[in-house]
């Protein structure tokens, strides 16, 4: 995800605009639909009503990146279907062209959603928002008021049942609670909206529901789905995607718009996402593409899509099928608020969710939590540093070039050096192609990436700011040096993370490697393969599996703890990601699991070069197994292990996947390491690529300095 978005930015920043007008080629349409929606679209296109179309289903994670990469190069689609909230970005990057249409037949909110500065970019297709799912087996009537949910249940809920399942830690799902108090996440003029009395009251209410045990703590989408599906939630707040999950079940349920809140009398209005067909600049010039877009948004196509994929159309002139779920969502969409398209919205999520979590965990009162969130938002939205004069850079580069040239000239005069160069020619014949390829495809891009660290601003309008980014990082953005989230604090976490991981990798890898090297071991091959397994499975898959195992209520680790309770050990299931220590431990456990096979194999390799006689001699001399391990094996394999350990340390230092996928930095970004912090600056905080690049350069500097230093200490480095 990280690189993909970075790619999008990069292409927007660097790429030349090459437009090629393809002649009679089919219209290219990209989408991220899956399942029913994909089949519906395929069927529509296959009906041939709109000429020849080339469809491409892109993973949603890569969608924006792919557009950003391809369209400026004239390679991308003519049309694409995406959510309206990305329009702000797309318009700024010039990825999308104006697409006028007759708004009469469309829901006003949908038209508003695709309108930026008075122009429409894309024709709305469907509307998606969350609604209230009601389990008819548990609930007597559909309550109009939120406060009545509890009393509308048939009988008191048994333990293991919840009243309302929703992802209470997500800002997206909290938004309806906020609107019920008249608040909004992003206020007029791109100001942070999630502060003040309304916001505080919404949080107090959510916290109150949590404290009463009416909503599950720590719920994510999978848990909500699971609770409702298994009939253990009376109500759930979720989107149409949950309905897709319920097809196969014999559950009797309804979908209705979200209720009102009695204290304010206002409706809980969810956020509305409008899916629209948008045109790239090239597509906007192709009549057949425009024809296709219009047809996709036509009444006929909308009806077809509703029937096949059960999505709420953005049109108001389509007859709703009898499907009650669809009708429920349609009603919900009518009251929903379109998601802001402003790019400032991107900076809202992270601080808001941190605040919500802190309040729900009880670590902070709503007022302080929201104030902190606002500070964070403002900090991120801080205007970029002023453009700096380029003169120092030019002088520095010039001086470096001149110095290098002088040194080269001096050395070129030196006959010894010339002889050496001449003697090197045969070697150069072996390295030349590798050097070329690496310079072109590895070093060049790396240097270019590093150069971004001298700029600020968002892609498209970045300016040169000199070392301002570095200064901001190293001065902890003007705050206390060791505040949570400051460079130094994150660095300390990163170092601890690296040391702990490498130590565990080493301990486990050494032990297993030595055990597996015993000549008498039976079924050695079987053990070897089974233990190498973590290495062979893609790491993003297993990282997600681990996250699932640490789930508070449903994870296997929790099940294990519960099982332990049966044996008299009293342990409460804990919320692994609510505290630093446990979240960090979960990360470490995952990474140890991923990394120990490498150390194990390296140990086994080192052991093969260890003469067996030495161990036998030690045994004859009366050394115990442990003594043999510590006194003979460890010192002897050490020299061949050191480089592997160093490499492992470097990899761990930059181990983005695990931290990002398992703890995601929780709680409150405390378990973030430098790389994931850099990622946040690039992608969740206003696309501050220059700042993120400065982080990368600092990471590189730290690692390079550290290895140089240890080389210098060891004086061995056979470079």
């Amino acid at each position: 995800m990280l690189a993909a978005r970075l790619l999008a930015f990069g292409v927007a920043t660097f790429a030349l605009l090459v437009s090629t007008l393809a002649g009679a080629s089919p219209v290219r349409l990209w989408h991220a639909y899956r399942g029913e929606e994909q089949r519906a679209l395929e069927a529509l296109v296959a009906s041939g009503a709109a000429g020849e179309v080339e469809l491409l289903a892109v993973p949603s994670d890569a969608f924006a990146a792919k557009l950003g990469a391809a369209i400026p190069l004239g390679e991308g689609p003519d049309l694409f279907i995406d959510a309206h909230e990305r329009l702000g970005d797309y318009v700024r990057q010039g990825l999308v062209a104006e697409l006028p249409f007759d708004p009469a037949a469309f829901a006003p909110s949908a038209v508003r959603g695709v309108t930026l500065a008075g122009r429409t970019y894309g024709i709305p297709l469907s509307r998606k928002c969350v609604a209230l799912y009601v389990n008819r087996d548990l609930v007597l009537s559909h309550p109009e008021w939120l406060e009545d949910l509890a009393s509308s249940v048939r009988s008191p809920l048994a333990s293991g049942y919840v009243l309302l399942a929703y992802e209470n830690r997500s800002a997206y799902y909290h938004a309806p609670w906020l609107t019920a108090f008249g608040g909004e996440l992003l206020a007029e003029g791109d100001r942070f909206g999630f502060v003040g009395e309304r916001a505080e009251r919404s949080l107090e209410l959510a916290k109150n529901w949590l404290d009463r045990g009416w909503v599950p703590s720590n719920a994510d989408g999978a848990l909500v789905a699971q609770l409702f599906r298994s009939g253990r939630a009376a109500f759930a707040i979720s989107g149409p995607w949950l309905a897709g999950d319920l097809h196969s079940e014999s559950l009797r349920y309804d979908v209705v718009p979200l209720p009102k809140v009695r204290v304010t009398g206002l409706v809980m209005r969810p956020m509305l996402t409008i899916e629209a067909v948008m045109a790239s600049p090239r597509g906007a010039r192709r009549p057949e593409a425009l024809k296709l877009a219009t047809w996709l948004a036509s009444r006929e196509a909308a009806g077809e899509r509703m029937r096949r994929a059960h999505v709420v159309s953005a049109r108001t002139d389509v007859e709703l099928p009898a499907d009650p779920v669809l009708r429920g969502f349609s009603a919900a969409a009518d009251s929903a608020v379109p998601m802001p398209t402003s790019t400032a919205m991107r900076a809202v999520w992270e601080p808001s969710e941190k605040a919500i979590r802190k309040v729900l965990n009880g670590t902070l009162d709503p007022r302080s939590a929201l104030r902190e969130a606002q500070r964070r938002f403002d900090d991120v939205r801080r205007p970029p540093p002023p453009p700096a004069s380029r003169t120092p850079l030019v002088i520095a580069i010039g001086a470096a070039l001149i110095a290098a040239a002088l040194a080269l000239v001096r050395r070129a005069r030196d006959p010894v050096f010339r002889a050496e160069v001449r003697a090197s020619v045969p070697a150069y014949r072996y390295v030349i192609h590798a050097a070329l390829v690496l310079v072109l495809l590895v070093f060049g891009p790396l240097c270019a990436g590093a150069a971004i660290s001298l700029t600020a601003g968002r892609p498209g309008d970045s300016v040169y700011v000199g070392l301002a980014n570095f200064w901001a990082i190293l001065s902890a953005r003007g705050g206390p040096l060791f505040a949570s989230g400051s460079f130094y604090c994150v660095l300390a976490v990163t170092v601890a993370w690296t040391l702990l991981n490498v130590a565990c990798h080493l301990a486990l890898g050494l032990t297993l490697g030595v055990l597996l090297s015993r000549p008498v071991l039976r079924m050695k091959a079987v053990y070897r393969v089974l233990l190498i397994l973590p290495w062979a499975v893609p790491s993003y898959v297993t990282a997600l599996a681990w996250k699932g195992m640490f789930h508070r209520q449903f994870g296997a680790v929790t099940a294990l703890l519960l099982r332990a309770r049966a044996f008299g050990v009293d342990v409460e299931p804990i919320d692994w990601f609510a505290r630093f220590s446990t979240a960090f431990a979960a990360n470490v456990a995952t990474n140890v699991w991923l990394g120990f096979p490498f150390m194990m194999v390296v140990t086994m390799a080192a052991m093969t070069s260890l003469p067996r006689e030495v161990l036998e001699a030690a045994e004859v001399d009366g050394a115990t197994r442990w003594q043999r391990f510590t006194k003979i094996v460890v010192p002897l394999v050490r020299p061949s292990m050191i480089p592997a350990v160093a490499l492992g340390a470097v990899w761990t230092f930059n181990m983005f996947n695990v931290v990002f996928l398992v703890s995601g930095g929780e709680p409150d970004g405390q378990t973030d390491i430098l790389v994931s912090e850099a990622y946040r600056w690039a992608f969740t905080r206003q696309a501050q690529y220059g700042y993120a690049a400065a982080y990368s350069v600092l990471i590189f500097g730290l690692l390079f300095g550290a290895t140089r230093l240890s080389d210098w200490f060891r004086r061995k480095a056979p470079l």
Partner: protein, 272 residues
């Protein structure tokens, strides 16, 4: 001890297996990762994935995509190894001006967070007209695997006695012939293992593939896999089933290579 370690290693994998064969969409909490209501539906869903064509026919995609994955990764591993081998040999056997600097630079590539280079890489590929092609993907994968491969192979070559090459040269070979006919065969296990690593990293890569490839019939499997996870909803069982299918060839390779793994690494990985 070993059994405990095996349990530790297998447990999460078994979870993925359980998920892949469960009939439910979301996992139940339980200690033992056994599939509930065992079903092959998800596997069938993944394997049978195809698309409608304009003429109303279904086109089967999974097979093609599997082939793509295998072809791209194999090509990437081969190209990467071919680039790395002579360079590693030169580093192992020759002294030359710039060697130290070159090795430091190689080491440095491992330290720079890879994400930072993705952007400009894209532009280079564009300049080479390799966007949206399997060729470009092969080039990217092979070059990213080159530095590590060079380190591995350099150590492997260093472990081969110089005598062997000299004997070949006295026997009438040129230096290059000696390298091809004596050093390379002697380093076969290390080369195989290094190639396996290169293959694996290419085979599991998703981001570049998703961004570079513009046709469904060109997608590699991880891209397809990622498609099962939407923005709001995720088809986890299908994802898990796909993950297993994707991992299967790698596991087979590992199983086949496990005996060489240690031999290949003896000189290899232990020398960063």
């Amino acid at each position: 001890m070993l059994l405990a370690a095996v349990a530790f290693a297998l447990y999460p994998v078994l979870w993925v297996v359980a998920l892949a064969f469960s009939s439910h969409q979301t996992p139940e909490p339980r200690l033992l990762p056994l599939p509930e209501g065992p079903t092959l539906a998800h596997v069938r869903e993944v394997v049978g994935a195809g698309r409608h064509l304009a003429d109303g026919q279904e086109q089967w995609l999974f097979g093609r995509q599997l082939l793509n994955s295998l072809a791209v990764s194999t090509a990437a591993a081969v190209v990467g190894i071919l680039i790395a081998i002579p360079a590693a040999y030169a580093l192992a056997r020759f002294t030359f001006v710039g060697k130290r600097a070159g090795v430091s630079a190689l080491l440095a590539t491992q330290m720079f967070p890879a994400v930072a280079s993705a952007i400009p890489l894209y532009i280079v590929l564009d300049a080479l007209h390799l966007l949206d092609s399997r060729m470009g993907l092969v080039l990217c994968y092979s070059t990213t695997s080159v530095p590590f491969a060079i380190f591995q192979l350099r150590a492997a070559f260093e472990a081969i006695p110089v005598d062997l090459e000299e004997a070949a040269m006295v026997d009438g070979a040129t230096r290059f012939e000696a390298f091809i006919r004596v050093v390379l065969p002697a380093a076969r296990p290390a080369i195989a293992v290094t190639a396996l690593f290169a293959f694996m990293s290419a085979y599991n890569e998703f981001i570049l593939a998703a961004t570079l490839l513009g046709k469904e019939e060109m997608f590699t499997l991880p891209v397809v896999l990622q498609r099962y996870i939407g923005e709001h909803d995720a088809n986890w069982p299908a994802f898990a089933a796909g993950a297993l299918l994707v991992s299967a060839p790698v596991m087979a390779l590992f199983y086949w290579a496990q005996r060489h793994l240690v031999a290949g690494l003896t000189a290899g990985a232990v020398k960063g």
